[in-house]
C-alpha cells in the first residue's frame, strides 16, 4: 500500500500493465515526451520506450482506428484522448467499428482496447474541456464504460479494463486527479468491471454517484448526518453495464434514491438509474427517485460554470425533497 492521488495511481496501473504484458502499448497525443497534459503517463516512455508509449499526430480518429486495428491483431492498446470533448473526431470509429466488430464477425474478430479520457468540469477550463457526455458512450452497444471516483478504484479498474476481452472507455475525473489521496494496493490489483460499491452505508436514502460527483455525494452525506439523516452512498464505478443489483438492494433498504450525475439530464446516467429503480424497487419506494444532474445546456464557461455542476447544496435539497421536508 502506498498513498497516491488518482493521477499517480493510474500511472502505477499503466506501468504494471506495460511491465507485465508485452502486448500492451499506449498511444495518444503528448503521452510520451511530456507524460500527457495531466502527467498521467509521466515517465512511462522513458521506462518502456517510444515504441510502446507512442506520441501520435493530432488525430483522434487515427488514434482510435489504429488502436482498433492493433487490438484485432493481438495487441492490447491503451489509447489516450486528451479530453472527452476531443473524442468526437474518433466517435465514428468507436460507434461504427470498435463497438461492432465482435457482433459483425460473430466473435471471429475482437477488439480488446482501452480508450482513456479525462472528463468533467470544475477547473474553469476552456470550451470543450469540461464535457461530461459519458451517456453518449454508455448508450453505445458493444462498449463498456468505466468511471472511477477514487485513486484505488482507478488503479484496480484500469488494470481490469486492460485485461477485459472487450473495448472499454475509461473516464478519468479531471478535478479528482490530484484532489484526493488514499492507500492504493501495490502491484497487480484488479477490481471487477460492472460492479458498484457501497462506499458509505446508510438507512434513510441512497445517493448513487460516480466520478467526481462521488466526492460531493460523500460531502452531502456528511452534511445530512449532522442533521440525523443517514445516507448510503453508492459508487457506480462502471456506467455500462450498470450494476443494477447493488442499486436495487440499496433502494429496497432505504426506500429513497437520489441519482447524481454531472452529465446532461436528458437520456443521462441518472435517468438510467431511475429507470432501474422504478422497474425493480417501485413498491419499496417511499418517494419518487430524484435526479441531480448537469443541465441540458452547453457547460457554461468559467464565470458561471458553478451553476451547472451539481453542488452539495443541490444534492442535499434533493434528499430533503425525497424526505418530504
Amino acid at each position: 500500500m502506498t498513498e497516491m492521488n488518482m493521477a499517480h495511481a493510474l500511472n502505477d496501473a499503466l506501468a504494471v500493465a506495460l511491465a507485465d504484458d508485452d502486448r500492451v502499448v499506449m498511444l495518444g497525443e503528448d503521452v510520451g515526451l511530456t507524460g500527457g497534459v495531466f502527467r498521467v503517463t509521466d515517465g512511462l516512455q522513458e521506462r518502456f520506450g517510444a515504441s510502446r508509449v507512442i506520441d501520435t499526430p493530432v488525430a483522434e480518429s487515427g488514434i482510435v482506428g489504429a488502436a482498433f486495428g492493433m487490438a484485432i491483431a493481438g495487441m492490447r492498446p491503451v489509447a489516450e484522448i486528451q479530453f472527452l470533448g476531443f473524442s468526437y473526431p474518433g466517435y465514428d470509429q468507436i460507434v461504427s467499428h470498435v463497438g461492432r466488430i465482435r457482433n459483425r464477425s460473430n466473435h471471429r474478430f475482437t477488439a480488446p482496447l482501452v480508450i482513456r479520457m479525462p472528463f468533467g468540469g470544475g477547473i474553469g477550463a476552456a470550451e470543450h474541456h469540461s464535457e461530461s457526455s459519458e451517456a453518449i458512450y454508455a448508450h453505445t452497444p458493444g462498449i463498456k464504460v468505466v468511471a472511477p471516483g477514487t485513486p484505488a478504484a482507478a488503479k484496480g479498474l484500469l488494470l481490469a479494463a486492460i485485461e477485459d476481452p472487450d473495448p472499454v472507455i475509461f473516464l478519468e475525473p479531471i478535478r479528482v486527479y490530484r484532489a484526493i489521496k488514499e492507500d492504493v494496493p501495490a502491484g497487480r490489483y484488479l477490481l471487477p468491471l460492472g460492479v458498484a460499491e457501497v462506499v458509505r452505508p446508510g438507512t434513510d436514502v441512497t445517493l448513487v454517484a460516480y466520478g467526481a460527483m462521488l466526492r460531493d455525494a460523500g460531502r452531502a452525506a456528511e452534511a445530512l448526518a449532522t442533521d440525523g439523516v443517514s445516507a448510503e452512498v453508492i459508487d457506480l464505478r462502471t456506467l455500462s453495464p450498470l450494476d443494477a443489483d447493488t442499486i436495487v438492494t440499496s433502494a429496497v433498504k432505504t426506500g429513497r434514491v437520489v441519482a447524481i450525475s454531472e452529465g446532461h439530464r436528458t437520456a443521462g446516467i441518472a435517468s438510467e438509474v431511475a429507470a432501474i429503480v422504478q422497474e425493480r424497487a417501485l413498491y419499496s419506494l417511499l418517494a419518487p427517485v430524484a435526479r441531480v444532474t448537469g443541465w441540458d445546456t452547453i457547460v457554461p464557461l468559467k464565470r458561471t460554470e458553478r451553476h451547472h455542476i451539481p453542488s452539495v447544496d443541490r444534492i442535499v435539497a434533493a434528499v430533503r425533497r425525497t424526505l418530504g421536508d
Binding site: 497525443e29 503528448d30 510520451g32 515526451l33 511530456t34 507524460g35 497534459v37 506520441d55 499526430p57 493530432v58 488525430a59 483522434e60 480518429s61 487515427g62 470533448g85 476531443f86 468526437y88 473526431p89 474553469g124 477550463a125 476552456a126 470550451e127 470543450h128 474541456h129 439530464r265 436528458t266 443541465w295 441540458d296 445546456t297 452547453i298 457554461p300 464557461l301 468559467k302 464565470r303 458561471t304 460554470e305 451553476h307 451547472h308 453542488s311 447544496d313 443541490r314 442535499v316 435539497a317 434533493a318 430533503r320
Partner: protein, 347 residues
C-alpha cells in the same frame, strides 16, 4: 521548396516591396500593438485574471501580414492562438479577453465583423471556411473566407475534407497554416512525413505556397495573391507560413519538457518585429520616440478593454438556458426553475 522571402533578417528588401513605405510603417505599429496584447494577456493570466492563454509571440508577422491582405467584410475562422489576426479583422480586444475570462459574450463580436469565435477544438473549423466562402459564391458576392490553423491541425481528418471540398468546388477559401514547429510537445517532423505542409495542396488540386512566416512582406504578398485568386473565382490556396512558437503551448504548458531553449536562439534572430524595425530604421522612418508612443497608446487601449471586460457583470445563474435555442424549450425552462429554486433553498 524555398520559402518566399522578401525582407531579410537585416531588414533589407530582396525584391520589390508589395507595400508602400507608409503601409509598412502602419503595419509595424500593428505588430507592436498585438505583441503588447500578447504580453498583457500572459501577465493577466499569471495574476489569475485570465484562464489559460495561448501566446502567439513569434507568429505576429504570419497573422498580421495575412490579415492585412483582407477586405474588412471577408470571413475569418481562426483558432485560440490567432488573436492578432482576429483583432485586425475587427474582433475587439474586449471580446478576446472575455473569452479568456470564461464569458460567452466573448464569442459575440459586433455586427458587421465576419469573424467566428476562435476554434478550440483542433481541425474542425477549416471546412467552415469552405462553407462560408461557398455561400458567398452562391449569393454572388466576391467575399472570401480565410482560415488559420496550425501544423498539428493538418493531421486531423477534417483538414483533408476541407481541402478536398475547396478543390472540388473551387471555393473562395484561403488556408493559412502557421507552421510554428510544434503541436504541444509534438515537433513538426514527427507530425507528418511530408517534407512541407504546402505540398499537401497538390494532392487536392490546390496551389500550395511556402513562405517565411516571420517576414511580414512575404506573408502579405502570398496572401494578397491567394485572396485575389479567390475573389476572381479561381479557387482556394494553401499557404504554409514557416514560423516558431516562442512561448510554451499555453500558460499551462512547460515547454522545457520537450524543447531545448537553445533551439530558439536562431529564431530569436529572425524575430518578425526586429526585421521590420531594421527596415524602417534604414529608411529613416523609425524613431525610438515614435515606437514608444505607439506602444503606450496600444497599452492604454488594451488596458481600457481589460477594464471593460472585468467590469462586465457576470451572467446570472439561469442565463445558460437562454443561450441554447432561439427560445428556451419547456424542458429548459423547467430546469431553470429548478436551479433558481434550489439556489434559494441552498442559501
Amino acid at each position: 521548396m524555398d520559402p518566399l522571402r522578401i525582407l531579410d533578417v537585416d531588414g533589407r528588401l530582396l525584391g520589390p516591396s508589395p507595400l508602400p513605405p507608409e503601409e509598412i510603417r502602419r503595419l509595424f505599429a500593428v505588430l507592436l500593438t498585438v505583441r503588447a496584447y500578447d504580453h498583457k494577456a500572459s501577465a493577466l493570466q499569471r495574476q489569475g485574471r485570465l484562464a489559460t492563454y495561448a501566446q502567439f509571440e513569434g507568429q505576429e508577422a504570419a497573422q498580421v501580414g495575412s490579415a492585412a491582405a483582407l477586405r474588412p467584410d471577408d470571413w475569418m475562422v481562426a483558432t485560440y492562438r490567432d488573436a492578432a489576426a482576429m483583432w485586425m479583422q475587427g474582433y475587439p480586444w474586449d471580446n478576446l479577453l472575455l473569452g479568456r475570462m470564461g464569458d460567452e459574450r466573448g464569442g459575440a463580436p459586433p455586427a458587421g465583423v465576419n469573424v467566428l469565435p476562435p476554434s478550440i477544438t483542433v481541425g474542425a473549423h477549416m471546412i467552415h471556411a469552405v462553407g462560408l466562402g461557398w455561400a458567398e459564391q452562391m449569393r454572388g458576392t466576391d467575399r472570401i473566407a480565410i482560415t488559420y490553423f496550425g501544423d498539428g491541425a493538418t493531421s486531423e481528418g477534417d483538414f483533408h475534407e476541407a481541402m478536398n471540398f475547396a478543390g472540388v468546388y473551387r471555393t473562395p477559401t484561403v488556408f493559412v497554416c502557421q507552421n510554428n514547429g510544434w503541436a504541444i510537445s509534438m515537433s513538426r517532423d514527427r507530425q507528418t512525413a511530408s517534407e512541407t505542409i504546402a505540398q499537401k495542396g497538390i494532392a487536392y488540386g490546390i496551389p500550395g505556397t511556402l513562405v517565411d512566416g516571420n517576414d511580414l512582406l512575404a506573408v502579405f504578398a502570398a496572401t494578397r495573391d491567394a485572396v485575389a485568386r479567390a475573389r476572381r473565382g479561381e479557387g482556394a490556396t494553401l499557404i504554409e507560413a514557416l514560423t516558431q512558437r516562442m512561448g510554451p503551448h499555453t500558460t499551462a504548458d512547460d515547454a522545457g519538457r520537450y524543447r531545448e531553449e537553445r533551439s530558439l536562439e536562431d529564431w530569436r534572430r529572425r524575430d518578425p518585429l526586429d526585421r521590420v524595425r531594421r527596415h524602417l530604421q534604414a529608411s529613416g522612418s523609425w524613431s525610438e520616440d515614435w515606437e514608444h508612443e505607439v506602444v503606450t497608446a496600444a497599452a492604454a487601449e488594451i488596458e481600457a478593454a481589460v477594464g471593460r471586460a472585468e467590469d462586465l457583470a457576470p451572467f446570472g445563474a439561469g442565463a445558460a438556458f437562454d443561450r441554447m435555442f432561439a427560445r428556451p424549450t419547456a424542458v429548459l425552462e423547467a430546469q431553470r426553475a429548478e436551479l433558481l429554486g434550489e439556489g434559494k433553498a441552498g442559501s
